[in-house]
């Protein structure tokens, strides 16, 4: 009996010991986690941030590992080596073509040609791209609602190509498909596409030759932005809102102002406008992307390194965050040009934004959201306001974590 009792006591002591050790471990773990998340907040990093860049910071935060982390560092190794494409330049580069009047009609002319080009999509990794004007994505074409867009297209590449616009196009000959109009444009051939700029919004153009998947994934796509015409908005305000209430003068004026802030010939320069084309590259042609990005280059808008403890970071030579002014309205023309995956997405850390589906309305179709998803060829306008945020790094990325870890992860650097 006494034996039993002592054994029971022993068991109880063991259990107490075990409980205590487990408790200690839990406390230690929670402390660590808390420290990490506090650092992450300080550095403007969230969970994905910690996994994507912050872990090296986590290690230096513990103070005894120097630059090396026991967990390693996620992300690509090295810097981009070629200057074939600058994603930062592309981000805010809008081509407005040349404008002329023809019989009372404003015509905006562009030149596009299809070429073959090796592009660098991750540091040291090249991809044999088919391009419009030697770049992926192709040039961002910008016109004003109601104008005639004229594109002189020449194919300098051995594969047949077309340009298919995601516009409301009333002439089937201009649809840019093999079965209609001029059909595909063969090597050395030229064709002039003419489309009416409508509706206002954030649109997309791409090659529609067969095999379609390959022609798109190889790089033949770009953004097309149609700015709303404020005069037209004043006369037909209802076409620009998903709203059925009374159209007051105030609302009308507000819509006209929004149209002016969208239109590059009025006040669009008051907004910090950016183009992000979400894309991916299947480098080994197995039907699965090895690189994901916003604007072609993996992690292009990421940071070189971070010290999450002090909230400090430094840019790489070719990789750096997008610098934005805190008090300026931020507008992202967002397009999903992904191939081989059904959807892509955009998620902003520590921030909620307004979203305009396809950009065809002047009032948000979604308000106060932090994640949107887009199917292939879907696009929209994201408007962000960082005016009440502390300066620092704010991550944004695809919230398919696989895409994020394979390159579609970036930062805004909010500046006071």
């Amino acid at each position: 009996m006494s034996d039993e009792g002592s054994r029971a006591t022993g068991e109880r002591e063991d259990a107490a010991e075990l409980t205590e050790s487990l408790t200690d471990r839990l406390v230690a773990a929670v402390e660590n986690d808390a420290a990490v998340s506090r650092r992450a907040v300080l550095g403007g990093l969230g969970v994905a941030g910690a996994s994507a860049v912050g872990l090296s910071g986590g290690a230096s935060a513990s103070g005894d590992h120097g630059d090396t982390s026991p967990h390693g560092r996620a992300g690509v190794v090295g810097e981009f080596q070629s200057a074939d494409f600058d994603p930062h330049e592309y981000l805010r580069e809008f081509r407005t073509g040349t404008v002329k009047m023809e019989g009372g009609q404003r015509v905006r002319e562009f030149e596009l040609n299809a070429t073959l080009r090796e592009i660098e999509i991750a540091p040291g990794v090249t991809f044999p791209a088919w391009t419009y004007n030697g770049q992926v994505p192709g040039p961002t074409l910008r016109a004003v609602e109601g104008e005639l867009i004229r594109i002189r297209f020449s194919n300098g590449q051995e594969h047949p190509h077309t340009i298919h616009p995601h516009l409301k196009n009333v002439n089937p000959r201009m649809d840019g498909i093999p079965q209609n109009g001029p059909g595909v444009i063969e090597q050395g051939e030229r064709f002039v596409y003419e489309w009416k700029a409508q509706p206002a919004g954030c649109h997309f153009y791409h090659c529609h030759s067969m095999p379609l998947k390959e022609h798109i994934h190889r790089g033949l796509y770009g953004a097309m932005i149609i700015d709303p015409d404020p005069e037209r908005v004043r006369q037909n305000p209802r076409e620009y809102v998903n709203y059925h209430g009374p159209m007051t003068d105030d609302l009308r004026a507000e819509l006209v102002e929004e149209a002016e802030l969208r239109n590059h010939e009025y006040r669009a320069d008051e907004v910090d406008e950016m183009v992000m084309v979400m894309n991916g590259f299947d480098t080994n042609f197995d039907g699965d992307n090895e690189v994901y990005a916003a604007n072609t280059r993996a992690f292009a808008y990421g940071v070189g390194s971070t010290d999450a403890e002090n909230g400090e970071w430094s840019a790489g030579e070719t990789v750096k965050p997008i610098q934005i002014q805190r008090d300026q309205r931020q507008r992202v023309y967002l397009i999903n040009a992904i191939e081989f995956d059904l959807v892509n997405s955009f998620h902003s850390h520590s921030q909620f934004f307004d979203y305009y589906d396809h950009g065809t309305t002047l009032m948000p179709t979604h308000k106060t959201i932090d994640t949107i998803m887009q199917c292939q060829a879907q696009r929209g306008i994201v408007e962000l306001d960082y005016s009440d945020h502390d300066p620092g790094l704010y991550m944004f990325h695809a919230h398919q974590s696989e895409f994020a870890e394979l390159g579609w992860m970036s930062f805004f650097e909010v500046q006071a």
Binding site: P70, G124, E290
Partner: protein
Amino acid sequence: MSDRRTDGGEAVSRTGMPFGLPRWVGAVTPLVLLGVVVAGFVLLNPFAGLATGGALPDVTVTHTSLPNDETVVLHVTNNGPDPVTVSQVLVNDAYWDFTMFAGGEATNTLAPMESGRIVVPYHWTPTWDIHTALVLSDGATFGHTIVAPQVSPGLTGELLGLLAVVGLFVGVIPVALGMLWFPVMRDMSDRSLHAILLFAVGVLGFLAFDAGFEAFELAAEVPGAFEGNLLVVLGILGALLLVQAVSEWNSAGDVRPLGLAYLVALSIGLHNLAEGLAIGSSVALGHVSLGAFLVVGFMIHNVTEGPAVVAPVAEGERPSLWHFVALGTLAGAPVIFGGWIGSAAYSPTLGALFLAIGVGAILQVNWEIGRMVRRRGSLVTPANLLAFFAGLAVMYATDLLVTL
């Protein structure tokens, strides 16, 4: 250069060199001309107009090592004819930090047939598969999955000691135990002794197949540039001919029984070296349960090798005792060395080569025993054939016990 013959014909000297040149010139001339032709081909490059687009890159992850749970090391070889650049490394579908070492320095480029080490600081979870992929500069990818990863223990004195003990138990002791049948064998009639010898042939024959298949299996993992299958063929034939040449030179065609015993011991030793290699590499990869069952299996399996070693000297004069010690050591101890080599520098290329050498040696020894039996009586008797079959069957049965 010619002599008048009595029959009026002319005898032409066939040994003379044309133009009276010294003989070495004749030997060297074709090589010089080959050099000229090759140089001309390289310089003029007559195939330049043939746009073949170059060879595809080919990189193999030959094996991996996991020194601790925060590091993954990929051992890679460039099989292709062109240099390749490893630009990025994916671990579980994510870009990850890495450093590649080749030729003693940190570099991203591997020359043709060059091997390198890619060190990835990645905190992995034991038994959770690690999917890795190398992304070359042209976007080509080469994947490798580390199934059920475990920390490889690394080369420590403790491990060497452990492998020595394991080698002792699975190699030396069973062979020594098997050799204890020697006194019984000495009392046997010629007929029975021949049957025992054929039993040994069966044992060895099974080992030859066993090791041969395993060699070709390993050869599939050998980087393409090293032609694994042909390497195995070369190893088998090379070892066979080499051992044959040694025994011919040693005995002018008639192998003495003791010599034959040593040959048997050598070939079994070579086979056991490969066996040790397998154990050592399994330990290095963290993939072996060196449980009692495995050791017991190996002991039962290898105990049949003992009589095979001493059967040739069973009749006639008994060799001195130290010969037995030497024979046992030669046959059994290589397990220990194999284990050490396997745990320190395992590569499928090395493994396949050792196995192939063992197979070649075994084939030669079987040929030798066959000759010996035929010289002293009849090779193909019912007893001999049954004994041969028994040798095969026993090995098959005991082989079931030792699956690494």
